[in-house]
């Protein structure tokens, strides 16, 4: 009983701590990465290689004056960043990030230590909670009493719901291959090889679904090829134009936490989670540590992909964005799970 409670406590502190620490590190990576891509220096004065810059920025945001413009709906105005942060933080708990078979702590078996709430409806939980994120955007846009914010909020919600469709449809193929909504089983279903030599990663079996999911993840996190909600050149800062101080920081943090969760989901659903191709992991604490390392390495790669794409591609026009979502990604996502169905029925994929 006490061991259980302690295990849950340790896990929660670890997950929240790691998630919150990723934000300043990602901000630093983003700024240094953009500087690298644009051939500038980037922040390099505060701390070694500018590493402390995000912390200084956080303190600055904390002590800045909070402007609440006249005519805003005060309740919605304050509620929106809170919802954004609550949703972003609640998502990650359902993501399994390491194997935990046969672990022991003071001679008590603690199966499910690392993958704490091993939900049997993990995918549904994530999609259900993630869809609440659109409320924060709509409420911020509507509550701000600002024309830019209103347009940004409406745009963002239209974009999010359009891409949510393609995203959920692209996951249907993954569920079919795993036969479960359980994220740990999704990962274990990707072990071994396919067609004799290819790793059985979903990305290799159904590349179409993988690409659609990654593109939709960019749209979901409102990042650059699809950052129409913010579109600095036309809408100032979109739905958070009127926000300042910690309220703005809440939006900012939720964006980066969403990025981490998206990268983790891409890894779990399409890139074999913690599995190394052709190698089976050892059990016990060593296996747990190794799998955690492999998982983190994959997540870091996708986080870098987010930064890389942001500073490489220009922004889409809004009609192009909607056409891509509704006319191209939606039919292709259906095609993807039809392919999985045919492959499974005909025995190509067993």
């Amino acid at each position: 009983m006490w061991v259980d409670a302690a295990v849950i406590g340790i896990k929660l502190v670890a997950v929240v701590g790691v998630l919150l620490m990723t934000v300043p590190i990602m901000v630093w990576v983003e700024r240094r990465g953009s500087a690298l891509i644009q051939d500038r220096l980037g922040p390099n004065r505060v701390g070694p290689a500018g590493l402390l810059q995000p912390f200084v920025d956080a303190i600055k945001l904390l002590i800045k004056e909070n402007l609440i413009p006249a005519g805003v709906d005060k309740l919605l105005f304050v509620l929106a960043p809170t919802i954004a942060l609550v949703v972003a933080l609640s998502l990650f708990i359902a993501v399994p990030f390491a194997v935990d078979d046969g672990l022991e702590l003071v001679e008590t078996p603690i199966d499910g230590f690392i993958v704490a709430p091993d939900l049997n409806i993990g995918i549904l939980y994530i999609f259900a909670i993630a869809s609440l994120a659109v409320y924060s955007i709509v409420l911020a846009g509507w509550g701000s009493n600002n024309k830019y914010a209103l347009l940004g909020g409406i745009r963002a919600s239209a974009q999010t719901i359009s891409y949510r469709l393609a995203m959920t449809l692209s996951v249907v193929g993954v569920i079919m291959a795993a036969g479960s909504l359980h994220l740990t089983q999704v990962v274990t279903s990707q072990s071994g090889v396919w067609l004799g030599f290819l790793p059985r990663w979903n990305f290799l079996i159904q590349p179409l679904g993988g690409i659609i999911f990654i593109v939709a993840a960019f749209a979901e996190t409102n990042r650059l090829p699809f950052d129409l909600a913010e579109a600095d050149s036309e809408l100032v800062a979109g739905y958070h134009t009127e926000y300042s101080s910690m309220n703005f920081a809440a939006f900012f943090m939720s964006k980066y936490i969403h990025m981490v969760t998206s990268a983790a989901l891409i890894t779990v659903l399409f890139f074999g989670g913690w599995q190394i191709p052709w190698i089976s992991l050892p059990g016990g604490w060593m296996g747990a540590g190794l799998s955690l390392g492999v998982f983190s390495a994959k997540v870091v790669f996708f986080l870098w992909l987010f930064v890389w794409v942001r500073w490489t591609l220009p922004r889409f026009r809004f009609d192009q964005l909607m056409a891509l979502g509704w006319k191209i990604m939606l039919p292709l996502a259906v095609l993807n799970f039809l392919w999985v169905g045919v492959a499974m029925a005909s025995g190509i994929l067993t």
Binding site: N66, P81, A94, L119, Y148
Partner: protein, 118 residues
């Protein structure tokens, strides 16, 4: 059910974190309110309309309606996908019929220009 206890605890942590952060900011931050600062960010000229009166395209509404229809479809797809192995050929054909009906609606919406944005 015991799987959901950590979720509940975690949800409490997730809800309390932004509240604590916002309250902490409220205590430590500076502030000298001023009616000029409280104007909505616009072009600098005094605003004479509120943002809620701004007109926006009816297409956003149409997109929302389409989303509801197609999202219900995905809800039907999830249980089907989980038990795809057990449903065998009959389940596959059943779903094809369902998708064919949906395709008619999709093509109709496309032909009527519901997916155009201009």
């Amino acid at each position: 059910m015991e799987h959901y206890v950590p979720i509940l605890v975690y949800a409490l942590v997730a809800i309390s974190f932004p509240i604590i952060a916002l309250l902490m900011a409220k205590v430590v931050r500076a502030g000298s309110p001023d009616p000029v600062k409280a104007e909505p960010y616009e072009c600098g000229v005094k605003t004479n309309t509120v943002a809620f009166d701004t007109r926006f395209s009816i297409r956003y509404y149409l997109i929302a309606v389409l989303f509801v229809i197609f999202d219900v479809e995905t809800i039907f797809l999830f249980p089907w996908a989980v038990s795809f192995d057990r449903l065998a050929l009959f389940g596959f054909i059943e779903m094809m019929v369902f998708l064919a009906i949906l395709l008619v609606g999709y093509v109709y919406a496309w032909r009527r220009g519901a997916l155009e944005w201009a």
